[in-house]
Structure formats: structure tokens, C-alpha cells
Symmetry: C2
Subunit: 431 residues, 2 copies
């Protein structure tokens, strides 16, 4: 939607809201529909091609308003997550369908999804261990539980363990910053030998520092064999799986118990919209007792599935694929520009929209370069450490980014590097 | 704001957003301001009288845009919670001020606030007990921790304990559905004698079933003496404390460690905006290690303090007080109508905007009445049980509610009761 259409549609929406409020006392206080009314009214997968705003909007009066906030909100969410699940070719076990055991739910962030799966895994494990060892108290079992994640995983995994009151250990990633089966196996064997109970592994697809991918096909069978809940955090990278050429990165998801990615990160849906799927909804219901989708009852008021519905229909699958492909193309464009300049190096394989790079030289030199880039305020980069190396991260993420912006950014960085290196050599900062 | 002004302002906002997006490439990518820039730019308390939309909006360009999302978002939130805290006359220890140890933060719901305080209390207690008893492991301590709340408390307290992996016990409320000091003392003594470690008490001001109030002035000193974290959940009732005549209900808050109420429930702020204050921010930082306001970093993108800023300024303190007083007046109007009808009884003291009432008679009769009310779909009531009694709840909550609506509702209920009683007696349903 361009700015002109946005102005037009936005103003129509303002009138729609004002009309609604003015006539609210003419509306029924409770909907007539029966639970389950919504699914038969809409297609069972997202459209390939874009639909017009008018067509999508017409369905608001036709499909949503008769169901008001409840049950329309919950039902649309379930159906939208089936659409999205099909777009990334999730195994059918993760879909709700008409009467599946799995299904999806919208969370506020990947951190929440990780926490919820860890807690569900904790409850499930405590019950299993207690049934096998009735002499153990819940507290004794809790004290022996261990969760795992890559040393490259997001800090929210550690925080989830902290909240859940269980131990967490890092699994060492290899020289490509990915966790392989043997690394997990090693730490599991040690921990089991010392009496601990491994119960949860969070695999990362697209790590925050350098967008590396844990090896699901090796890790999954180990987790399944050891009764370990495997959760997959694909917060950023998950959106790319709608393109067949990137879907192989998700191979092995069939071994997972839960999977999450954030359409608000890279699929043009406004914050917040973090999509989470589980194979067995009953695991969540079991863990939280009181409500099927715990912590979520109050989120109904936000009706987050509406924005997903609009985006999926107004872009269509092909439009969203184009968006992803363009970003990946632009990050490769940046990668090539870096590679043509002998002063620089690429620090991790460029798979999606992130390029990790640095000047060949000390961390101090690279910190100085970052400082001059960010102080100029033309572009903004967030750095990271990969092992002991201080690394700059170029992330393609705006909806409106074009090749000219990438060129501009590289020329700017390159010029600042030239300026810096002149002073740097002159001042003899090198150590 | 009436519908006409809403149409005008809404459309101006659409243009503002479109202009912003069209010219985004002319904006700096990072703000020039220094952390702490915002507080000196705005008053240190909410205005008494309403300000115009123009005046509030002008400050967006002047105060917010130069600070972009960060640090403006965090800083405005801290200052707005100081404003709100002052409006309900919270003890100064709970305010952030320029360099206080306390302060407020916006959560998504009262459930989240309860969870966060329980987790902070858990960490604090484990550290204290471990320093006093170095021979105890963390798991052993965890296994002995107990949290408490009224048998009238919201289910989210139980869920928080479930998530935190600690025991929770109900404290019996008295015949007014409130928890008094002796009831808490009794269960604490029993539990301590059997080796448990009481660590957390959630007091409720304005319970969900009947809006009863726990006795803070008795409970607070007990909690302080016993090293028990006292959290106060005033989700609904808290908004009323902006009126001096209701502020006494909050007396005793000075004994609490944390306090929460939901401006999105009764202070005309859109969902979600749940205000939480702590006396010691370091307790939260200590509990979650990684970030001062854990689970909240991703919420920055929502900038929830903006809507609080607009509402507090456009209504002013007096406008919001009027809103609360009107609702309380209308609930008393409904109470009087009920009391004039001898077929009905009032089931709990009417303090704020909620009236619990029922037909004198069996639960079955009252269930039948509720069914006929909700099936008519003119008004909608959510029932509850008070002890063994099935009770109907009339809640005044709409921004636009007037005395005529209350009269209409009562006439409608009264007529349905007449119809029901005729059939009921005829069919001899009574047991």
C-alpha cells in the first residue's frame, strides 16, 4: 500500500470506528454465532496472489462482526496460524485443522514462546519422572532438571530457565556457530551420569549474532530418544521458510514439540505477532491447568490475528516471497561489495538478510569504525562478538529498502573506513 | 472527545503517519538526545484540568520525536507512572523521581504483575534463606516456599505460583469476603510449624467476584515482620483511588513491596496498560539478572505510555475523577432499584461500580434468570459464586453509560424476573 492509498484507507477506517461508536447502542451485546462458525466461512489456505483492500475489508462486516471479539478472535487466530503453518510447510501434526491435536497461537515475542514451552516441558517431565519414581518429590525432581541451548542462543532462553526455576547449560557451537548432534550428546551423557534430568532443548534457526542454524536433523532424534522437549526458536529466520529455496533450513522440525517464529520481524506484520505452534495442545493445557492458552486470555482484546489476515491476503504468498527474496538479494549485494574490498572480511556465512563483517585488524579498530558509523547517524549498526572477534552486523530489514540504499551504505562505510585507517596508522593505535 | 472531533483528529493522525513514512529517509537514524533528557521537559504531575488535543499533540514533535523510540519510550513511561502514582497518593518510596529506588512500569495485565512480583520475591527469599542456611540447596528451599492469597483472589495468582514452581495456599476470607490479619496469621503459624517457608502474599483490593477489599492495615505489618513480600492486586479498584473519598481503601499500601492496578480497566486508557510499582527496582533487576524490566524489552515497540500521557492530559485529574464518580453513582442507583424490589437481595456491599444481587430463592432460579437475561441479548451479565450462592453481577463499565441505561437494565431484569417467576411457580421447579 503506497502513501496515497494509506491516506485514503486510513481515513475510511477512522470513519468506520466513529460510526461504530456512534451506533454502538444499536448493536447486540452478545453474538448469535456458535463456536466453530468461522472456519467454514474462509478459505483453508492463504491466497497466492494479492487481494484488494476492499475485498479483505468487506469480510470484516461479513465474517468478523457477527462473531464480535469472542469467538471470532480465537477462531480467526487458529485459522490464520494454520494458513501460516501451511505457507512454511509445517508438518500437519502442528496444525489445528478441524480436529487436530496440534495448533498455533499468537504470542507477544519469541521470549514468551520459549518460556511457555519450557514450562510445559517442565510439567510434562515432572509428571513422567514422578510416575516412574513415586518416591521423588516434585521439588527433588525440579532440582535435577536441566535445559539446554546453544552458546549462540538468545538470552531469553536463559531467562526462561531462571523464571522456571531450573538449571540451564550452554551447548558448544562449532566453527560455523551451529550446534550439532555430537555436542548435545556429549553434555547429555555427562549430565545424566551425574544424576541430572535433561528435559528441554531450545534449538535456534537463525541465531541473533550471525544467523547460524542448529542441525535439527541430528538434534531432533536425540531429543526424541531422551524424552527431551525440543523447541525451535526461528524468531527472525522463520519468515524465509515461505520460500521453497529456504525451506530446507527447517528440515527436522518434524522432531520438535514446539516451533516459533515472528511474523512481526520479517513478514510485514506490525508488532506484536509471534507465531507459536505445538504438536500437542494438551501439553500446554496440562501445564497451566486453568486455561488452554495461558497468559493469553487478556490478549484476546488485541485481536492480533486480524493484522495477519490483512497482510497475508493483501500481499498474497507471492508478494511476501518477493519481499523475503529481495532482502536476501540485497544482503548478498552487500556481501559482494565487502568481498571486493581487501581491507574487510566476511565473518559468517550469509544465508538470509544479515551480513557479519569487519575490517581485517584488531577489535579496537573495528570498535572505532562502528563508533564513527553510528556517530555519523546516516545508518545504524548493532555489533556482536563472534567468539573473541568484535563484528559489525549489516541487517537488511526495512520494507522500503532498495539496492541504492545498500550501495549508499557501503560507500559510506568504506569512506569512513578510509578516514579511520589514515588516522589510525598515523596515530599508531595498533596493538 | 466526541465522534466529530474523533473523525477530525483521527484523519489528521492518518496524514501525520503517512507524512512520516513518506519522509522517513530524511530523518536521522538515531536520536541526538542524552538519556534523562525527557523528565525536565514535562511537568512533574498530571494537570488538574483538561488540555486540548492540539496542545498535547504539539508536544509529540517537541518532546517525543527528538527522542524517537529510545530513550523516549522508557523515560516517558517512568514519568507517567510517577504522575499516576501521585494521583493515587502512593507513598513516595514507590516513585522513581529523579533518583529514587522505586518506580513504576507498564505491564500487559495484572496477571503479569503478579507473576513478576512472585518471581522477584522467590529470588529474594532464596538468597536470604541460603545466606542464613548455607547447607540448603536452592531446590530444597524452593520445595518449602509457600505463597498465599485470599480464597476470593483471581486465578492468576494460582497460575503465577504454578509457573514459579512453588506451593500456593488460600487464606480464608470472612463473611464480608475480605482477608483479615488473624486469618493470615493462623495459616502462617501452621505452615511455619511444619517447616514451610512463607514468602509471598497477594492482597486483593477489589476482588473479581464481589469487589471486596483485604485489610492491608492488619496484613501489612504481619508480612513485614515475617519477611513476606506483600503484593497488592487492585486491578479494577485501583483507578478509584484518584478520588480522595476512595483513597482510604488503599491505606496500608505503605507496607507493600509491589502494587498494581489497570488503567485499561477503569481509567479510560485502551488495552493494554497495567500499571505496576515496586519499592525497590533492584529486587526486579536482581531476580531477572539480564534486564532491569524483564520481559519488557520487546514491549518498547508498543510505547504504551503515550496513551496514558494523552488520557491524563486530555481528561485532567478532575475529568477522570468525574468519570469514576459517575460510575459509582450509577451502581448505587442500580443498588437502590434492587433494594426497592422485595423479590431481590443485594449480596455484597456496593463500594465501587459493581452490584452483586440475586432473586431470593434457589441457585436454579437465579441461573434461570441469568439465562433469560443473557439470551435476550439486551444486556449481558457475568455471574459468580459467593460461597455456595449463585449471584448475578451488574457492572457499570462503559465510558458512555448514563442513568437511563441503568434504569432500562433494571426494568428489563425486573420484567424478565416477573415472567420467570410466573412460569417457575407454575412448573413448581422449586426444590
Amino acid at each position: 500500500m503506497d502513501a496515497a492509498e494509506f491516506r485514503k484507507r486510513g481515513k475510511e477506517m477512522v470513519d468506520y470506528v466513529a460510526d461504530y461508536l456512534e451506533k454502538i447502542d444499536k448493536r447486540q451485546v452478545f453474538p448469535d454465532v456458535e463456536p466453530g462458525y468461522l472456519r467454514p466461512l474462509i478459505p483453508d489456505c492463504a491466497p497466492q496472489d494479492p487481494e484488494s483492500f476492499e475485498d479483505v475489508f468487506k469480510d470484516i462486516e461479513k465474517i468478523i462482526m457477527p462473531g464480535a471479539a469472542s469467538p471470532a478472535c480465537t477462531e480467526l487466530e487458529t485459522v490464520m496460524l494454520d494458513w501460516l503453518g501451511k505457507m512454511i510447510n509445517l508438518p500437519e501434526e502442528f496444525l489445528a485443522g478441524k480436529d487436530g491435536q496440534g495448533g498455533g497461537v499468537i504470542q507477544g515475542s519469541a521470549s514468551e514462546a520459549t518460556l511457555i514451552s519450557l514450562l510445559a516441558a517442565r510439567t510434562k517431565t515432572i509428571r513422567r519422572v514422578q510416575s516412574e519414581n513415586p518416591e521423588l518429590t516434585e521439588a527433588e525432581i525440579m532440582g535435577r532438571l536441566v535445559a539446554y541451548a546453544s552458546d549462540q542462543a538468545h538470552s531469553s532462553v536463559e531467562r526462561a530457565a531462571l523464571i522456571g526455576g531450573v538449571k540451564i547449560k550452554n551447548v558448544s557451537s562449532d566453527d560455523k556457530f551451529t550446534v550439532c548432534g555430537s555436542a548435545l550428546k556429549k553434555v547429555l551423557d555427562e549430565d545424566k551420569a551425574s544424576g541430572l534430568i535433561p528435559f528441554f532443548f531450545c534449538a535456534t534457526l537463525g541465531t541473533t549474532p550471525c544467523c547460524s542454524f542448529d542441525r535439527l536433523l541430528e538434534l531432533g532424534p536425540i531429543c526424541n530418544k531422551e524424552n527431551i522437549w525440543m523447541h525451535i526458536d526461528a524468531a527472525y529466520a522463520g519468515s524465509a521458510f515461505i520460500c521453497p529455496e529456504f525451506r530446507h533450513l527447517l528440515n527436522g522440525v518434524e522432531f520438535a514439540d514446539s516451533f516459533n517464529f515472528n511474523p512481526h520481524k520479517w513478514l510485514l506484520v506490525n508488532f506484536d505477532c509471534s507465531a507459536m505452534w505445538v504438536k500437542k495442545r494438551s501439553d500446554l493445557i496440562g501445564a497451566f491447568k486453568l486455561e488452554p492458552l495461558y497468559l493469553q486470555h487478556h490478549h484476546q482484546e488485541r485481536f492480533r490475528s486480524l493484522k495477519l489476515w490483512f497482510v497475508l491476503r493483501m500481499y498474497g504468498v507471492t508478494g511476501l516471497q518477493e519481499h523475503i527474496r529481495k532482502h536476501v538479494r540485497l544482503s548478498h549485494q552487500f556481501e559482494h561489495l565487502v568481498l571486493q574490498d581487501e581491507r574487510f572480511e566476511i565473518c559468517a556465512e550469509v544465508v538470509l538478510g544479515l551480513v557479519c563483517f569487519r575490517l581485517k585488524g584488531s577489535n579496537e579498530l573495528n570498535k572505532a569504525l562502528l563508533k564513527s558509523i553510528n556517530e555519523a547517524k546516516k545508518i545504524h549498526l548493532v555489533p556482536c562478538y563472534l567468539r573473541e572477534k568484535f563484528v559489525l552486523r549489516f541487517a537488511v530489514c526495512s520494507r522500503t529498502v532498495e539496492s541504492t540504499h545498500v550501495k549508499f551504505a557501503w560507500q559510506h562505510i568504506s569512506q569512513l573506513a578510509t578516514d579511520l585507517l589514515q588516522t589510525w596508522e598515523h596515530d599508531d593505535h595498533q596493538q
